[in-house]
């Protein structure tokens, strides 16, 4: 009967209720989006870091992976040292370099070149074809294939730089495209190629000999990753060892703006939702003080009155939340589309990532808000002086 009365009272002013539900829905949509934004970036960044299970990354001291053009020297020796540690399962060296692919008749295509050891690489997933097993082979991404109009089995002329005085390309090689890969860490608008690291080092000449940009390290299952990290930091002082956690912290710091924005806008959404519900329920209680006084006079318990009014607030916020969650998913897609255009953003990173717990969090927050919003008017209604209210109603 409480539910019936709450429903009846909400349905009495349909336009008003609909508007409030709509308002709560927009607030809920915004809230969901902001929870997705606060959480999504981190989740998708973590997923990207964890995609191949490498927990540690070694970059030149004081830098983040591929943040600068600095490289680590004496790479072979470091790799040997790392591989000798029984707690380390896999060591994947990576050398990055800007490459230029000659396309007859048009300008060269600028390519992100990654030198890898194909057997242990963690930078891309093969979509078709095979790994670049031989020194004169490469794996390209779809964009590079499209730009060069190359197919698997074709040979590309690849250079590592230019010599303007001799008007020739430096470090030129003819490499066969043997596979197509999807690169985890690169932007969608970035042509990319992976080739054996020895080939890329050789193409770079003495500047690149025995140098890498990054080591990715996977610890053996069951090994204490933090201990491995500390061991590497101690044994190889020339590098910065980043664990997934420290990498996440660095990302957090750089993208703190979006999280703060999310927190502020999320809070504003909640406040707006709260104000809407509490205003509506207060007005609806004010209109019904006589009715409530009569209910109390004929023996309806205070707690029942409170429950009915709180229920009204709850119904408003839950109805708004349900509509809002759908709306939120649509706007999140739209907003994510805008932010995906960030230059250089890895294609696998999403700012707005839907996770069921986000919806649960938004719903939970709104339910709490609805309860709190209904609490004040409910308390007022419950503490109405019955006799005086009845007298005033009779006069009015």
């Amino acid at each position: 009967m409480i539910a019936a009365r709450a429903a009846a009272s909400l349905l009495r002013h349909r336009a008003r209720t609909a508007l409030a539900v709509l308002g709560v829905a927009v607030a809920a949509a915004m809230l969901l989006d902001m929870i997705m934004l606060a959480d999504g970036m981190r989740a998708s960044f973590r997923a990207m870091l964890d995609v191949r299970g490498f927990q540690l990354r070694l970059s030149p001291r004081g830098t983040l992976p591929f943040d600068t053009e600095a490289t680590i020297g004496g790479a072979g020796e470091i790799a040997r040292l790392l591989r000798a540690n029984p707690d380390i399962e896999t060591v994947a060296p990576v050398l990055g370099a800007a490459l230029h692919v000659r396309v007859p008749g048009t300008a060269d295509v600028s390519v992100v070149g990654l030198g890898v050891e194909p057997a242990v690489q963690g930078d891309y997933a093969l979509v078709r074809g095979r790994e670049a097993a031989r020194p004169d082979e490469l794996v390209a991404n779809a964009l590079l294939l499209r730009r060069t109009r190359a197919r698997l089995g074709d040979t590309l002329t690849v250079a590592v730089g230019y010599d303007p005085q001799l008007r020739t390309a430096r470090g030129t090689r003819r490499l066969v495209v043997v596979g197509e890969g999807r690169f985890f860490y690169l932007a969608a608008d970035q042509p990319a190629a992976a080739l054996p690291i020895a080939t890329l080092q050789a193409m770079g000449g003495p500047e690149r000999a025995d140098r890498v940009s990054l080591f990715m390290v996977r610890a053996r299952p069951g090994a204490d990753v933090e201990r491995v990290r500390a061991w590497i930091a101690e044994r190889v002082p020339r590098v910065t060892v980043l664990s997934t956690a420290t990498a996440m912290a660095a990302v957090d710091q750089r993208l703190s703006y979006f999280r703060q924005l999310a927190v502020i806008l999320g809070a504003v959404s909640l406040v707006v939702g709260f104000l809407l519900v509490t205003t509506l329920v207060t007005v609806s209680v004010n209109e019904r003080v006589g009715e409530i006084a009569v209910l109390r006079a004929i023996g309806v318990a205070r707690s029942r009155v409170v429950r009915q009014i709180v229920l009204e607030g709850l119904v408003l916020s839950v109805a708004g939340a349900v509509v809002g969650l759908g709306l939120g998913l649509v706007t999140a897609r739209y907003l994510n589309g805008i932010l995906k255009a960030f230059p250089g953003l890895p294609a696998s990173i999403d700012f707005f990532l839907f996770q069921p717990r986000d919806a649960a969090a938004a719903l939970g927050l709104l339910v709490v808000t609805g309860l709190v919003a209904g609490a004040f008017p409910a308390w007022r209604a419950a503490s109405l002086p019955i006799a005086r209210t009845l007298r005033q109603e009779a006069v009015a």
Binding site: M1, L11, R12, I298, G299, V300
Partner: protein, 237 residues
């Protein structure tokens, strides 16, 4: 059908009073000054009696009714209803007491606008924890009793004033109260519907209910077994 409950008593004993007021005062502040709405009223209403309190408006009769109905508490004196001192009840007990022991009828009916006639009558029984089937059956019985069996699905707005007041009387009888209180029950009605309501109250009384009305409707007062006059917060001898 029982419309109202009576105290169990050994056969042959005299009827215990349903209402006992002993030197009851009620003051309340209004615009900074104390208004003495009820000043030293003593009154007994016997079980099964039908008493009308009459007097000019503002004489304190509604306040008196609220005191008897445990809606309001006296500033001084005691109010004993069905053997129970209600002047000291806490809110929870007073609410329960009103629900099970008192039936209220108001001048402006005060039915719940969102509920049908049947649901309005069911409301106090639902509150008292009566099962759905049982309360529905009794609500139908009561609507038949007040002659509105055909109107059970109607909302208050779809009923005339007289019909609304009859639904309100049915609602007041829902939990078989020991005492039926009516505050100007004909105040909003025309002569014809007033007569219907007066006849209904009389029948309720004849069927065993103890009834206390406050009114300045002479017709209604004449229907009572006893008339008590009130002026300036005091009963006139």
């Amino acid at each position: 059908m029982t419309v109202a409950a009576r105290a169990d008593r050994p056969p042959g004993t005299s009827r215990a009073p349903a209402v006992v007021l002993r030197d009851v005062h009620r003051d309340y502040p209004l615009a900074g000054e104390a208004v003495h709405a009820v000043r030293g009223v003593s009154l007994e209403v016997a079980e099964g009696d039908y008493v009308a309190v009459v007097g000019p408006s503002g004489c304190g009769k509604s306040t008196l009714l609220n005191l008897v109905g445990a809606i309001d508490r006296p500033t001084a004196g005691t109010v004993t209803i069905a053997g129970r001192d209600v002047s000291t009840l806490g809110d929870r007990e007073a609410t329960r007491f009103r629900l099970l022991t008192i039936g209220f009828v108001f001048q402006r009916f005060y039915l719940m606008p969102a509920l049908s006639a049947l649901e309005n009558v069911e409301l106090p029984m639902a509150e008292a924890g009566v099962g759905r089937d049982e309360r529905r059956a009794r609500a139908r019985e009561l609507l038949t009793y007040v002659g509105l069996q055909a109107r059970e699905r109607h909302r208050p707005a779809q009923l005339s004033g007289g019909e609304q007041q009859r639904v309100a009387i049915a609602r007041a009888l829902a939990n078989r109260p020991r005492l039926l209180l009516a505050d100007e029950p004909t105040g909003e009605l025309d002569a014809r519907t007033s007569a219907e309501v007066i006849a209904l109250l009389r029948r309720v009384h004849e069927d065993g209910a103890t009834v206390l009305v406050v009114t300045h409707d002479d017709e209604l007062a004449r229907a009572a077994r006893r008339i008590v006059r009130m002026r300036d917060g005091r009963l006139e001898a």
